[in-house]
Symmetry: C2
Subunit: 165 residues, 2 copies
């Protein structure tokens, strides 16, 4: 596996820190890309999803058109691309609330190159806590042919920008 | 990481093959368990979720009470426990449709031992295909103190048992 991108959460990052006020519905970010190999697929699946279609190329040929990646492998790579692709650093205290509608639309196969699109769907103030808000985003994962391989939505609690004296 | 259990999808498994007719709402299965180590957490997160709270024990102490596992690591381990814990082999053609309401309720920390409970919520016939049905299940992941660390629900298409001559 090759990771041409690098995490941007480290302290040396020059990316801006995003607070609730910085998020606007319709904002779109696109990540870098990552290529998944046959050995990546087998290694992940052997540990986390040991089914023949994910671990055994020969057996997979009898089941489908050949080896396919575990959906959880795609989801985990999506997380990596999210960390490296969102173009900002989340404000301290940003907290994901979970994920909805996780769907795998197309198989991911050896040699596929994935990237994601992050689309901000909505923002709303917190009713109980005036110092924060909630943002909802859609994460779509594409292969090199721009076919959607995975989609999901997520909400997160995001602090408002602190008032400075 | 220790895996006291073993995958049960291999051909040598003596577990029964489950078709749509074999699923009844209220059925509950409990998996074996898996213990997650600090090095497991760092290894997974370095590849898939490179944020300091998952990769750097010292930095994690400044953010929370110390290193916590990526939620996608917990989800991936849940998949493993599902494969090894469901007590049957899925009929050929069984196909997961995706996951809903993926939530992480408690941090998973080094040394935690996880297991899952699989609860069959509902079954219904397919309207378009008489040879199959749809089952919906809840997957709950617990730590060694029986605290819920993750929950999600999922639907799958399951073939009916073929009629034999």
């Amino acid at each position: 596996m090759t990771y041409p991108d690098r995490p941007n959460d480290d302290a040396s990052s020059t990316l801006p820190v995003f607070y609730f006020e910085d998020f606007k519905p319709g904002q779109i970010a696109t990540s870098g890309s990552v290529t998944i190999t046959e050995s990546d697929i087998i290694r992940f699946a052997s540990e986390f999803d040991p089914q023949p279609m994910h671990t055994d190329p020969k057996a997979a040929l009898a089941i489908t058109d050949g080896l396919i990646a575990s959906g959880w492998h795609t989801a985990s790579l999506t997380m990596r691309l999210l960390i490296t692709g969102r173009g900002y650093r989340p404000a301290p205290g940003t907290l994901g609330l979970g994920f909805e509608n996780l769907r795998w639309h197309q198989p991911v196969r050896p040699g596929d190159t994935l990237h994601i699109r992050i689309e901000l769907l909505s923002t709303r103030a917190s009713e109980s806590r005036p110092d924060r808000g909630i943002i909802t985003s859609r994460f779509t994962t594409f292969n090199q042919d721009n076919e959607v391989v995975q989609s999901m939505t997520s909400s997160a609690i995001v602090p408002r920008r602190p008032v400075t004296a």
